[in-house]
């Protein structure tokens, strides 16, 4: 069954096709012009749970003045996607009459996306973009439409983080992004399995450029 025959208000199927190895290569070609300047400035890269808190949430103060502008833009790009996802799940929980494991999926993932929003906002401080207004229309009025849309949003989220990580110059921000990237992949696989679609459609996950992601998001009409 092709889930997209449910006609969600979005049509990202072309963008999230898993045979687009070209996307990976294209992103790579761009990325090699942008090596991180302050990469591994700190000699010892701590590994463990503390990294996330220490990296993404540098205390009460927001971004260091030295944070590269490109990194701020990437964080705001990620924040926009997380706003979108978080609002989508909140709306679906209210309106989509979810049941069973799909309902548990929505609650779990909503909590994750809200945590991502909170962490990114805190990291950005006054540089954070404002939360847009959303209209999810019929995508949140039934469980089947919800599932179809969630697959697209999560697959896009994975591809977006994957496309941006090579551009990140600040190590702390890189560590945070690389801790969110696999979580979005887990979400995508989970909802795909619940929907009878392959949770892992290819041996290498494709990446999307920022422009590709923004075009796809704009195409949904979800952002007012």
């Amino acid at each position: 069954m092709n889930i997209f025959t449910n006609k969600p208000r979005i049509d990202l199927s072309a963008v999230v096709d898993f045979d687009t190895d070209g996307a990976l290569q294209e992103t790579e070609a761009t990325a090699r012009r942008h090596s991180r300047r302050n990469f591994l400035r700190t000699s010892g890269v701590a590994v463990g749970g503390a990294v996330v808190a220490g990296g993404l949430l540098p205390g009460a103060s927001a971004l260091a003045a030295s944070t590269p502008k490109g990194d701020v833009a990437i964080l705001n790009f990620a924040l926009t996607l997380e706003y979108l996802e978080s609002a989508f799940y909140a709306s679906a929980i209210k309106h989509a009459h979810l049941t069973g494991e799909v309902k548990r999926f929505a609650h779990t993932v909503h909590a994750h996306e809200a945590a991502h929003v909170a962490a990114l906002k805190k990291a950005l401080g006054s540089a954070a973009v404002k939360r847009p207004t959303f209209d999810f229309g019929s995508a949140v009025t039934s469980q089947s439409a919800f599932q179809a849309t969630a697959i697209v949003l999560e697959d896009t989220g994975v591809q977006a983080y994957q496309g941006q990580t090579p551009f990140i110059k600040s190590n702390a921000i890189f560590m945070a992004a690389i801790s969110i990237h696999p979580v979005e992949a887990r979400h995508a696989a989970w909802i795909r399995n619940l929907s009878g679609q392959s949770p892992a459609p290819a041996a290498f996950n494709p990446a999307l450029t920022k422009d590709q992601v923004l075009a796809a998001v704009t195409g949904t009409g979800f952002i007012k």
């Binding site: 090699r32 690389i178 990237h181 887990r186 399995n193 290498f204």
Partner: protein, 224 residues
């Protein structure tokens, strides 16, 4: 992570650490690293990203250390690929478990072929394995798979910030997402008890190379 590793029967074996200890001596020249002959044999998708001309340098780390990281990844992929191959050979699974084993076996074999192709003559040899009967019953197969996949995610996440070349980081990110999809998938297959969540945390927790090697060693799966 530590708790979850305990589902596998532990017994000591120095083999992994030894296998990887030799990596420090691995060849690190670009000519050796990107040996043409091997690349032809590997999976098509990520190869372009590995090609010599695209090796953008990142600050921090080194090409030599990238070889070490790639061989570390190859060791984990050897382990996973052999595990799924044995499961398919002896498991007698059906339905969703068989589908999972078949798809993931294909992915891990592709990862192995790709990494071998990139490393060429610098690639570590495939160890011999003893999975201690964990592949014989579907439930122990899934529980062990969960540990291996969760560990794979944590391993790639832990190494990503240490990678010197964007040409290596990009495919590593592509594999990271796929391992996370596998992990969520197998967790969903185990979900019946509701105690195993496909996406257990908002931010994924990395493991260092030594943490991963220690965990793998304790499984006793690697004989030599």
């Amino acid at each position: 992570m530590t708790d979850e590793l305990s589902v596998v029967e532990f017994d000591g074996d120095e083999a992994v650490a030894e296998a990887v200890a030799g990596l420090h001596e691995a060849r690190s020249t670009r000519a050796g690293l990107f040996k043409g002959a091997g690349i032809a044999a590997a999976g098509a998708g990520a190869i372009a990203a590995f090609l010599p001309g695209t090796a953008g340098a990142r600050q921090g780390g080194s090409k030599k250390n990238d070889v070490k990281i790639l061989n570390f990844a190859l060791t984990l992929e050897y382990l996973e690929a052999a595990f799924y191959a044995e499961a398919l050979a002896v498991g007698g699974y059906s339905g969703s478990v068989l589908n999972f084993a078949q798809v993931v076996a294909g992915h891990e074999a592709t990862h192995v072929a790709t990494l071998q192709g990139v490393l060429g003559s610098a690639a570590v040899k495939k160890p011999s394995f003893d999975f201690k009967g964990t592949t014989r019953k579907w439930h122990s197969f899934l529980r062990t798979s969960k540990v291996l996949e969760d560990t794979g995610v944590a391993a790639y996440q832990g190494q990503a910030p240490l990678i010197h070349q964007n040409a290596v980081l990009e495919p590593a990110g592509a594999i990271l997402a796929v391992e996370a999809r596998h992990a969520a998938w197998v967790r969903d297959l185990l979900y019946a008890g509701k105690s195993v969540k496909p996406a257990p945390e908002s931010f994924s927790t990395p493991m260092s190379m030594s943490q991963v090697l220690s965990a793998v060693k304790k499984t006793g799966f690697i004989k030599s």
